[in-house]
Symmetry: C2
Subunit: 218 residues, 2 copies
Amino acid sequence: MQQLTPMDEIVLTERQAGVLDAVLRLLVEKGDQLTMTAVARRASCSKETLYKWFGDRDGLIAATVRWQASRVRVAPIDRAGLDGATLTARLEEFAVNWLTVISSQTSIALNRVAIGQAAGRQASLGAIVLENGRFAMGRRLKPVLEAGRDAGLLGFDDTEAAFRTFFGLVARDIQIRLLLGDRMDLDPETIRADAVRATRQFLALHGATTTSTGAAGS
Amino acid sequence: MQQLTPMDEIVLTERQAGVLDAVLRLLVEKGDQLTMTAVARRASCSKETLYKWFGDRDGLIAATVRWQASRVRVAPIDRAGLDGATLTARLEEFAVNWLTVISSQTSIALNRVAIGQAAGRQASLGAIVLENGRFAMGRRLKPVLEAGRDAGLLGFDDTEAAFRTFFGLVARDIQIRLLLGDRMDLDPETIRADAVRATRQFLALHGATTTSTGAAGS
DNA sequence: AATGTACCGTACCGTACGGTACGCTTCCCT
DNA sequence: AGGGAAGCGTACCGTACGGTACGGTACATT
């Protein structure tokens, strides 16, 4: 996965951003059968302008995905001053953030269209979504995990493997169920509880101080 | 999720099964832009017959999904004679089975089309896939988990929650990456190793004999 | 004022595809 | 043998939609 379209500075006028916003809204409500005509009408612009700006339909969708990804990018987690409580808080914060993102209507719609496009022809959208979703998460969390290990709070050999374990404990079956249309209501309290549970489980598996925090309790 | 289309006895002639097989193959290679004409040509039948048998395009795809689901159904795991080694073997077997299924081209293609259809209009395909995938797995594994608890080998309060934890430890980021077009080669050895690791982690979290098996090591 | 640019709205074109109609062959039933 | 049902192959229809062309308008530049 060799760093494709890493994070190109996206230069968009206000107007163009408005168009992509319309695409996003349409994608959420209409699913992937959004038409160029519908986009033009919703954004109050002409189809000709759409084609001039974005080339073709795939280009428009790709621009939308990239633009949304560039908006989601959050502040990096600082790895300074890591004690046990701080590490726990960082992990929980990360899990809350991640669960909030994947349960959002926008993320679901975008993942759906990327997956639909990944069937057959070029899977460029899938690569973009993966790069700005799953892999961006990995790049953000791994320094934290390694700082935790350096501080003697965590124990693992393979950072990637440790991250994937945490990923699994956080996401479980949630994303696939949402993508397949299962109605799960993830209110903030549920997300918070899930994040706490996942973090506790992760620390039970990889925490150096397994016995002290009482993490093994049900 | 109120038991929709539970497992209708599917009555299909050999010929009809052959048609659905063609749909499946076409779905795998062509993605979701399979056309009725292509199906008819591949299956050497007329479009008129297709419509007579399956109603319309959605009916054809739904029949394909249901038929494939009915084929995948495996023998239930017996819960007799559970000692530690047997439980471990059961969990590993289950994990291997699950990973093998979700990494198969057929499963990926089917999930993709169901997800694509879940965007907008009725999400019936998504419900069918969910019912025969994720939820069928739960129904299969939960008796094993509860038998393990009854035998004093496992500890948990909520069977559903325990199953979802196991699910997360097994699947991690694999399914979403495959759906988005990431090329991961899951050879049998990798799957085996993943299954062993997930089982070991699950037992470390929920096993009654946490300290004895040395599961906490890297 | 003249000219050019950007863009909106809409009409238009070509094609792909879902769905239907029809002629022909095969095979079963009696 | 005669009649009907099943089904293959193909031609056909209607429509939806991607993409293009064009007239009209607002605004900037000179």
